[in-house]
C-alpha cells in the first residue's frame, strides 16, 4: 500500500516538474514570436545615438537618433545630425558604418572630437556603448 502511494507521489512530483518545464517552453515560444514582431518594428537601423548631455537642448537629452550608414555631425543645418552648441564646428565629424563596425573621423574641427574622453586624431573604430563628445554634447553609440 505504502509502496503504491510512494510511487504515485513520485510520479506526481516528476509530472509537476515537467508541467513547469512545459510552462517555461510555452513562455519561450510566446516570447520568440513577440521578439520577431518587435524586431520587424524597431530594428531596421544599424545603430542609434542616445543623447546623454546637451546644454543647449538641440538635440535634446534623451533623444535616440537613428543612424544611416553615413552621418555628418556639425552646427551647419545641412548636416545629417545637427548639433546646436557654441563649441561645435560647422562641419565637425563624420560617423560612418563600414564593413562590420562604426568609425568616427574628425573633420578638422576647432575643439576636437572625443571618444570615451580621448581625443580622436585619425579615423577610429567604435564599439557599441562608446561615448562621443562633440563640443559640450555627449552621445552614446547604441545598437
Amino acid at each position: 500500500m505504502l509502496r503504491i502511494l510512494l510511487l504515485v507521489l513520485q510520479l506526481a512530483f516528476l509530472g509537476l516538474l515537467y508541467l513547469i518545464l512545459f510552462g517555461f517552453a510555452r513562455s519561450l515560444l510566446r516570447d520568440l514570436r513577440g521578439a520577431e514582431r518587435m524586431e520587424r518594428a524597431s530594428r531596421t537601423g544599424i545603430g542609434r545615438l542616445a543623447v546623454i548631455e546637451s546644454p543647449d537642448g538641440e538635440p535634446p537629452v534623451g533623444r535616440d537618433i537613428a543612424l544611416g550608414a553615413i552621418n555628418s555631425i556639425g552646427r551647419n543645418v545641412n548636416n545629417t545630425i545637427y548639433v546646436e552648441d557654441d563649441f561645435v564646428s560647422a562641419n565637425h565629424a563624420m560617423l560612418t558604418f563600414r564593413g562590420r563596425s562604426w568609425f568616427i573621423e574628425d573633420q578638422g574641427s576647432t575643439n576636437g572630437t572625443y571618444v570615451n574622453g580621448h581625443r580622436v586624431e585619425r579615423p577610429v573604430a567604435l564599439s557599441y556603448g562608446d561615448e562621443l563628445t562633440i563640443g559640450r554634447v555627449r552621445m552614446r553609440l547604441e545598437r
Binding site: L6, L16, Y18, I20, S27, D31, S127
Partner: protein, 443 residues
C-alpha cells in the same frame, strides 16, 4: 509611480507552491513509513524567500527578464528538496546560538543570496562602476587569487578555502565573476582592434601581439591554479569562459584554435608532471582499478545512475543519498548523482533542461543588450553558470575526469550560492537597462 505587474514571473513561480512541499512530504513519507505531512518549515521558508524576491522586483518597477527568477527558483527548489533528503549532519552551522542542519543552513544562504541578487538587480542602474574600473576589479581578483595561494586551506586535495575565523569561503566563486567583468570590459574596449588587422603565418592568421598577451596571462593564471591550488575544475571553467567570450567578441576561429592548442598542450604537460592531475585522469579512464579507494566515488556514482533507472528509486529511498557521511561530497560534488538515483533519468533530464533554459535566457539578454560591454558581460556570466553545470554533471557521469565544482543552485555551499545569485542579479540588471532604452520616451 506606475507599477507594472510581472505576470509571467508570478505565473511560473506559482507551481512551486506545490512542487517544493510535495518533495518534502514525499521524503518524509518514505522515511517515516506512514502518511503524514511532516515538517514543512523549510519549504515554506524557501517559498517565502522567492515570493519576497518577486515582490521586491515588482514594487521597484524592475523591467528585467521575467523567466530568470522562476527558472532559478525551480532549480533551487529541487536542490533544497534533495539537500533536505540527505542526512542533516553532513554539514551545518551553529551560529547565533542556533544549531542549524544542512538544509536549514542552505536556506539561510538562499536568503542571503536573494538579498544580494536584489541589491545588484535594483541597485545597479548604471554599469559605469563595472566598466570603467575594470583594472581595479582585475586587481581585486588577482589579490583574491593570491590570498588563496598563500592562505588557502586544502580540502579533498584541492586548496580552495580561505578560513576567516567563524566563516570560511571559496574565493574561486567570486574570482569567477570578477574575471568575467574584466574580460568583458577589456574586450568591449578593444573589440574593433581585435577583429581587425592581424599578421599571417601561412594559412593561420595570428592576432596582434598586444591582444595575445592578456590571453597568455590568463592561461598562465589558469595553469598556476592547476599546479598550486590543484583546483582543476575551476581552472577548466575559467579557461572555457575566457575562450567563449573571446570567440563571441571577435567571431574568429583562430583564437579558439590557439586556445584549444594551449589547452591540449597544457593538459598533456600537467598529466606528465603532476601526480594529482594524473590521479584524476587515471580514475576517469578506469575507476574499477581501485573501486574501494581512488575510484570509490566514481564507481558508486555510476551504480547510483544505474539504480535510478527511468523514474528513479523515489525521493527518500535512494541508497547513495542514505549512506551520507561514508560517501564523501554527496551534498556538493555528487548531488547530481544522488538526484539522478532518486528522480531517475526523467528527473535528471528535467534538472538539465532547467539549466539549459537558464543559459538560453542569459544569451537572450546578451542579444538584447544595447552596448558591447553589457552583451559581453551577459555572455560571460551565462557561460560561467552553464559551463560549471556541464563540468560537474559530466564529471558525475564519467564523461570527463571528475573535478570539484558545484552545481549552481543545487549543491550545498554558501559561497557558490551567493556567487550564483550575484550572477543572476547582474543578468537582471543588464536586461533591465536594455528594456528601459527600448521603451519610447523613457528618460
Amino acid at each position: 509611480m506606475r507599477i507594472t505587474w510581472r505576470r509571467a514571473e508570478l505565473a511560473m513561480l506559482l507551481p512551486l507552491l506545490l512542487l517544493v512541499p510535495l518533495g518534502f512530504v514525499l521524503t518524509h513519507v518514505a522515511e517515516a513509513g506512514k502518511l503524514e505531512p511532516g515538517p514543512l518549515g523549510l519549504a515554506l521558508g524557501y517559498l517565502a524567500i522567492m515570493a519576497g524576491a518577486h515582490l521586491v522586483l515588482t514594487l521597484s518597477g524592475h523591467r528585467g527578464d521575467q523567466l530568470l527568477l522562476p527558472v532559478v527558483a525551480t532549480i533551487g527548489g529541487v536542490g533544497l528538496v534533495m539537500l533536505n533528503r540527505l542526512p542533516q549532519d553532513l554539514a551545518g552551522t551553529s551560529a547565533f546560538g542556533l544549531q542549524l542542519g544542512m538544509a536549514a543552513t542552505q536556506l539561510l544562504w538562499f536568503g542571503v543570496g536573494v538579498v544580494a541578487m536584489l541589491a545588484v538587480a535594483v541597485g545597479f542602474r548604471d554599469d559605469g562602476l563595472l566598466r570603467h574600473y575594470k583594472y581595479t576589479w582585475a586587481a581585486l581578483g588577482a589579490a583574491l587569487l593570491l590570498a588563496t595561494f598563500v592562505f588557502g586551506k586544502e580540502v579533498f586535495g584541492a586548496r580552495l578555502w580561505i578560513d576567516l575565523g567563524p566563516v570560511q569561503f571559496q574565493p574561486g566563486e567570486f574570482i569567477k565573476i570578477v574575471l568575467v567583468v574584466f574580460i568583458a570590459g577589456y574586450l568591449a574596449e578593444n573589440r574593433a582592434l581585435l577583429t581587425g588587422a592581424s599578421a599571417r603565418i601561412g594559412p593561420i592568421s595570428i592576432p596582434p601581439l598586444p591582444y595575445l598577451l592578456p590571453m597568455l596571462a590568463i592561461f598562465v593564471m589558469v595553469m598556476l591554479m592547476v599546479v598550486v591550488l590543484k583546483d582543476l575544475g575551476t581552472a577548466l571553467l575559467f579557461f572555457g569562459i575566457f575562450l567563449t567570450m573571446l570567440f563571441v567578441a571577435t567571431g574568429r576561429r583562430s583564437y579558439v584554435l590557439i586556445g584549444l592548442i594551449l589547452f591540449v598542450a597544457g593538459s598533456f604537460v600537467a598529466y606528465q608532471l603532476f601526480g594529482h592531475v594524473r590521479a584524476r585522469v587515471d580514475v576517469w579512464l578506469n575507476p574499477f582499478a581501485d573501486p574501494s579507494g581512488a575510484g570509490y566515488q566514481t564507481v558508486h556514482a555510476l551504480y547510483a545512475f544505474g539504480r535510478g533507472g527511468l523514474f528513479g528509486e523515489g525521493l527518500g529511498q535512494g541508497l547513495l543519498p542514505s549512506v551520507g557521511g561514508s560517501f564523501p561530497a554527496v551534498q556538493t560534488d555528487f548531488i547530481f548523482a544522488a538526484t539522478a538515483e532518486e528522480l531517475g533519468l526523467v528527473g535528471a533530464f528535467g534538472l538539465l533542461a532547467l539549466a539549459l533554459l537558464l543559459v538560453f535566457r542569459g544569451l537572450r539578454i546578451a542579444m538584447l543588450a544595447h552596448d558591447d560591454f553589457s552583451a559581453m558581460l551577459a555572455v560571460g556570466l551565462t557561460t560561467s553558470l552553464g559551463l560549471q553545470t556541464l563540468i560537474i554533471v559530466a564529471g558525475n557521469a564519467k564523461l570527463i575526469p571528475l573535478t570539484g565544482v558545484t552545481f549552481p543552485f543545487v549543491s550545498y555551499g554558501g559561497s557558490s550560492l551567493l556567487a550564483s545569485f550575484l550572477v543572476i542579479g547582474l543578468l537582471l540588471s543588464i536586461s533591465h537597462r536594455a528594456a528601459r532604452v527600448a521603451e519610447p520616451g523613457a528618460p
